[in-house]
Amino acid sequence: MSGDGTQEDPWARLARLTPARIGLGRAGSGLPTREVLRFGLAHAQARDAVHTPLDGDAVTAEIAALGFETLAVASAAPDRATYLRRPDLGRALSEASRAALGARSNTSVDLALVVADGLSARAVHEGAAGFLAAFRPHIARAGWRLAPVVVATQGRVALGDGIGAALKARAAVVIIGERPGLSSPDSLGLYLTFEPRVGRSDAERNCISNVRPAGLSHDIAAFKLDWLLTQAFALGLSGVNLKDGSGPALEAAPSPVMIENGTQG
């Protein structure tokens, strides 16, 4: 019973306990019209997140405005349709980008940051610069030497291996648009690989997932990445043998709901 004495639908109260689509009601065996349309809109937004091209110039400009040096590269997947069918091409640099990275006189650094569209350019447009702004103080405090921030189009996580190796980085972090869920078209994933080189497996990476306004905040994600990177440098490894133990250090801070998302390769 609510305060004014009217009976609230018990399903409405249950629906507050979960983000799942419960208590929808029905029209015969079907969904009410509003629910059919709500679902259709959410799917449309997720589809748009997958198929909207990355605006590399705008993202690069935003990152440069934060004071980072930047570099633009492309994967070997020439377009979205190829990218979706050929994950192997999204993991490799285009010939031109490989040559361009190889032609630089790279001196060894601690960290290469790679921003890639992945499966949601929208997540990168809305979140990549914001995350880097939150992470910048951690870099400064740790004193990590940084390669130019690479902005990659049609990229998958493993693209960071070749980039990190070319830039002579001890560790690479790929900041990438995750596979959009129906209610999360704007989620970034952060993938850390110690000693990146072509051929690293996913078991050799650590992932911080669901970085988005309704999920893990930029500040918390930056804190966790700092913790993982510090551990990776100390232990000389990343992946399944590096467990995320940043929780206790975070306990003092006000913590938002942290949820794990599907990873993507």
């Binding site: 018990p10 399903w11 109260r13 249950l14 629906a15 306990l17 979960t18 983000p19 799942a20 689509r21 419960i22 208590g23 929808l24 029905r26 015969g28 065996s29 079907g30 969904l31 629910e35 679902f39 259709g40 959410a42 799917h43 997720a46 589809r47 997140a49 997958v50 979706l84 069918r85 050929r86 994950p87 192997d88 499966l119 596979r179 959009p180 869920g181 129906l182 209610s183 999360s184 709901v257 942290m258 949820i259 794990e260 998302n261 599907g262």
Partner: protein, 465 residues
Amino acid sequence: MAYRHVVGPRTHVFADLPALMAKATPVRSGDRLAGIAAESAEEAMAARWCLAEVPLSEILARPLIPYEDDDVTRLILDTHDAGAFAEIAHLTVGDFREFLLTASPETLTRIAPGITPEIAAAVSKIMRNQDLILVARKCRVVTRFRNTIGLPGRLAVRLQPNHPTDDAAGITASILDGLSYGCGDAVIGLNPASDSVSTLSGLLHLFDDLIRRLEIPTQGCILTHVTTTLEAMNRGLPVDLVFQSIAGTQGANASFGVTLPILKEAHEAALALKRGTVGDNCMYFETGQGSALSAGQHHGIDQQTLEARAYAVARPFRPLLVNTVVGFIGPEYLYDGKEIIRAGLEDHFCGKLMGVPLGCDVCYTNHAEADQNDMDTLLTLLGAAGCNFIMGVPGADDVMLNYQSTSFHDSLYLREVLGLKRAPEFEAWLAQIGLTDAAGALLPDGPSARLIAAAPGLSDRGLAA
């Protein structure tokens, strides 16, 4: 040995049986990714003509992956029922298709132990969608734990109450919602976000309490790794069904961290608990085309044939449920609605032909060229094909795994259109608690207050009405 087929002035040559099988497969992106798909539409048809003329006995005699190299091949050949095979041993793949179209349900049951996954896959490649539906509909694979699944004219639903943080109240809310639509007879099955044994313990008790308090004739399952479930059983936790994802090669199973001896150990542990009331089918497996390629363990074999081999892994364990999660893996394996629909029908057909209780997670991800209309089509076709069970996900949106499946409403749609009933014990329970009428239709004023009041853990949140 090379295979040849002449089309007019051209002779198509296929290096060996794996190449012939791959090129005869209706085109899909995963086989292209593996570099084994037919390179032209004519080559695909030439391969199908050629495959139609291959004797079944030749397929049996030429393992696609050598016996010495792979324990799934050894399992298939060591457990092959030569007596059951004798009835079809003289047939070619093309003859076998016609045999299946005319066979009675009794004949199909009799020959099932003689059908290897490679034989099932081969004949499926020359069958149209309507053939796959017609023959699968005649295959009867009935299993039992606390109810009876797979009877003709019936369809069960897995109630899938996933929650992004495994919150007990949130999961319970989704379960109650699903029950109110008459879903949950296949299993109440949760994919947990966490794989810790302590989380598992809480969830297993939650499911056990709920099923007992409401006296639901169904089973619960937390879909976690088989080794974690074994640990749970060793600690005395209430495990109804043992879950595991499986694939069609030893290497792919190893990538899942699973071996045949581990499955056997878990099966024996679950049997010893004797928690079933009307039967002892206590395993739940999930599969999906592309998993072996994804693990780099496909041996140059096409993904549809490897999927059928996963059913051979399942078969000796007499599972309650085997679920092909058909569109979950993504567009690099099944690109669009057309490929997902075809794969769903193939998987269901191959499993049923082999005597395995196939259900289907009719599903897709947001980067596949598919939408809910494609799922409606596959759902309807699988309903016509006599699929044992489907998923019931709230609003078809899985908020933990981030993909779209079928909803509680979708099951109502399928029941109304095709006249499909629930598992008989579950159907009787729904009528008894006043949720449905005698015909199984939902009553307008269902017992939602009673369901909520009986659910553990909700009353302290002021939710018991």
